[in-house]
């Protein structure tokens, strides 16, 4: 199977010398341990993040468009949206291991990938902390890095515990409306059973919408009826609405307690909703932002978390626009001061 991949590598990169190179490359995998030659295509932002967190980022040769963290992930060749993968596109990267999620498709493409000899491993991803643990362990087992995986799980659990403590220490239970914006007039609201609902609950707050499952379009009256104390948005969605002012100018929004107090919290969506290694930190950040805002505090801390795992700190120091948006959350907090 490893020889198969090496053959494509030669064909893909240097067609002119394909003959010679493929002979050379065919021999390489036989002489070296399998893991050294591993070429991974990772589908799903959370899965890619876990691969990097396990220190196996160097083995990645491609990822899907949802893989935006850490910043290195954005430099990988993109195999497209995870539900519309192209079998040949993925194979052109000559992977030996393809990590997919339950979302990945279409089924025909997955079936074709399975037929080529590359190892196709489904990683269980989901929308609660247990799913994050399971995903980390599944990737760690697949990459044969169980020890590192257990470290990540422990760090995650510690972060979640810290967030729980933060939430428990606060007497407030703000009503939070999660708005998933895709540009003006295209906003969706997260109801029960969604990733955002779970995060809001774990952060010791209340989802302002609890009368339906899944997502519904944002409506003026629906917003007024939900009466949120805080509006939570993915930071990229906030940009598409024209920032905080644009969000609060949405129909109905001006009549909510959140708008009167200008309480908006923006967080990166993969960080907030990915349910991967950073979920505990995201939860702590969210709890801090929600409860501080409730008390009317101004954002207090900034920069790299002292208790963050090393890999996280290292990545965050090379900050880019998609690092977990602490700065933005803090900035909006500051703006919320009355």
């Amino acid at each position: 199977m490893a020889t198969v991949a090496a053959g494509v590598a030669s064909g893909g990169a240097w067609p002119a010398r394909a003959g010679v190179l493929s002979v050379l490359l065919l021999l390489v995998p036989l002489a070296t341990p399998a893991r050294a030659a591993e070429r991974i295509v990772s589908v799903g932002g959370t899965v890619t993040e876990i691969v990097y967190a396990l220190g196996a980022g160097d083995a990645l040769v491609g990822a899907d468009t949802s893989s935006v963290y850490p910043p290195e992930a954005e430099k990988l060749p993109k195999v497209g949206y995870q539900r519309t993968l192209s079998a040949e596109g993925v194979l052109s990267l000559s992977p030996t291991l393809i990590l997919i999620t339950p979302e990945s498709g279409p089924p025909a493409a997955i079936e074709q990938l399975r037929g080529t000899g590359a190892r196709v491993v489904p990683i269980p991803t989901g929308t609660d902390v247990e799913a994050a643990r399971a995903a980390i362990r599944a990737v760690a087992t697949t990459l044969d890095r169980q020890a590192r995986g257990e470290d990540l799980v422990k760090a995650l659990e510690a972060d979640v515990e810290q967030a729980r403590a933060l939430a428990a220490a606060s007497s407030s239970h703000p009503r939070v409306l999660f708005v998933y914006a895709r540009g003006a007039g295209m906003a969706m609201v997260s109801g029960k059973g969604t990733a955002a609902d779970e995060m809001i609950r774990l952060a010791g707050a209340v989802n302002a919408v609890n009368d339906y499952e899944g997502f519904r379009p944002l409506t003026a009256e629906g917003v007024v009826a939900a009466a949120p104390d805080v509006v939570l948005v993915p930071s990229r969605g906030l940009d598409s609405l024209g920032g905080k002012a644009g969000l609060l100018a949405q129909p109905g929004m001006s009549l909510t307690p959140a708008a009167r107090a200008e309480r908006v919290v923006a967080m990166d969506d993969l960080y907030l909703l990915g349910f991967g290694p950073r979920t505990g930190q995201a939860l702590a950040d969210l709890a801090r932002a929600l409860h501080q805002q409730q008390r009317g505090d101004i954002g207090v801390d900034s920069g790299v978390r002292r208790d963050a795992p090393l890999w996280f700190a290292a990545i965050q120091s090379g900050a880019s626009r998609r690092t977990p948006d602490r700065s933005k959350a803090v900035a909006t907090n500051a703006g919320a001061a009355r």
Binding site: V8, G11, P107
Partner: protein
């Protein structure tokens, strides 16, 4: 176009002009097939393609290709090319059949409901299927979407046809109007599904409606190929009757055409061809509407040329569009419906402009 103009176009060129046109289009299709087999994100040199094909056909040709190249060519590109050619031909010929039946150049195969019916069924599977998927066997999960889309497309056509028929006679105006009504109904139902869908599901439905040849696996192609081949081979037999139909429904009847049978067969063949291709590829616009126009602009309105010509040109256009779709953003893929229009529309405009400079069409 008037009968006189038709006659003047038919007489001088006759058979040889038609044969030349079809031969040229066949060559174009052959080139498109070669391009489709040779191009892709996994590089395979042209000699390698030939060697793999010949050696897998059992000929004693030494193939230096790596096993992965063989796999990509035989398991991914070849079924994809076959599906692309058949689906493109099916869409083109259906457009030509329906434009002939309706005597209206604005008719798209979607008009009789087949695309919107298929789209509704596909959306239902994509949105509600996740919940039901656990209860289904593996094979049905893989083929559930195409099967549902095919059934949905045919059901919509049957409904349109039934609504437009009174006492065994089908009125063309009735077909048009009930087609519009059924299309709106299906569109509304799809909208309702999108309303309850999650973000990711909405995206899947959108992509399905823009088409892709990515679903081409040998088992799937083997199922639709006989259906499409049947429609493609049967359609040209209606050419003479459709030529007479151009004069008017009553006139064609007086000239001995069994108009009701013609309508039934034309609609059934178009529904079969579009339903079978849409089931695997999703909705691909433009080909069915414009390819017959292109053929008529080049070779005149004789259906003996337009029907096979639209099949050949539709196949070639779809294959070229697919090559662009898979290579322009490699290793990702652009939806093919975007590319067919992007390639075809400027070509149509160019042809139209050229014609207007040189005189009336």
């Amino acid at each position: 176009m008037s009968a006189a103009a038709l006659a003047s176009r038919w007489q001088p060129g006759g058979l040889s002009q038609r044969a030349t046109l079809l031969a040229a289009l066949a060559v174009l299709l052959a080139l498109a097939c070669l391009l489709s087999l040779g191009a892709g994100s996994v590089a395979i040199p042209p000699g390698g393609v030939l060697a793999i094909l010949l050696s897998s056909a059992g000929l004693p040709v030494a193939s230096e290709a790596a096993p992965a190249q063989v796999g990509v060519l035989l398991a991914i590109r070849l079924p994809r090319t076959v599906l692309g050619a058949l689906a493109g031909a099916g869409l083109g010929v259906s457009g030509a059949l329906l434009q002939g039946l309706f005597r209206n150049p604005l008719v798209d195969p979607g008009l009789i409901g087949v695309s919107s019916g298929a789209a509704l069924a596909a959306a239902a599977v994509l949105v509600l299927g996740d919940a039901a998927a656990g209860a289904l066997p593996e094979a049905l999960r893989l083929f559930g979407l195409p099967l549902a889309a095919f059934a949905g497309g045919l059901a919509a056509v049957a409904m349109v046809h039934r609504l437009a028929s009174v006492g065994g006679r089908t009125s063309i105006a009735g077909l048009l109007l009930s087609g519009i009504a059924v299309n709106s109904l299906a569109g509304a139902a799809t909208g309702l599904l999108l309303f309850v869908a999650s973000d990711a599901q909405v995206r899947s439905v959108t992509f399905w409606n823009l088409g892709s040849l990515g679903g081409a696996t040998w088992p799937a192609v083997a199922v639709v190929a006989p259906l499409l081949l049947f429609a493609l081979l049967a359609a040209p037999r209606l050419a003479r009757a459709l030529n007479l139909f151009l004069l008017g429904e009553a006139e064609a009847g007086h000239l001995g055409v069994e108009v009701e049978r013609l309508k039934r067969r034309g609609i059934a063949l178009a529904a079969l061809a579009v339903g079978a291709s849409v089931a695997l590829t999703g909705v691909i616009g433009f080909v069915g509407l414009v390819v017959p126009h292109l053929v008529r602009l080049i070779g005149g309105p004789d259906h003996r040329a337009v029907l096979p010509g639209a099949a050949l040109l539709g196949a070639a256009l779809l294959l070229v569009a697919d090559v662009v779709a898979r290579t322009a953003a490699a290793p990702a893929e652009i939806p093919i419906g975007v590319i067919t229009a992007l390639l075809g529309a400027p070509f149509l405009l160019w042809l139209l402009r050229r014609r207007t400079f040189w005189g009336p069409v």
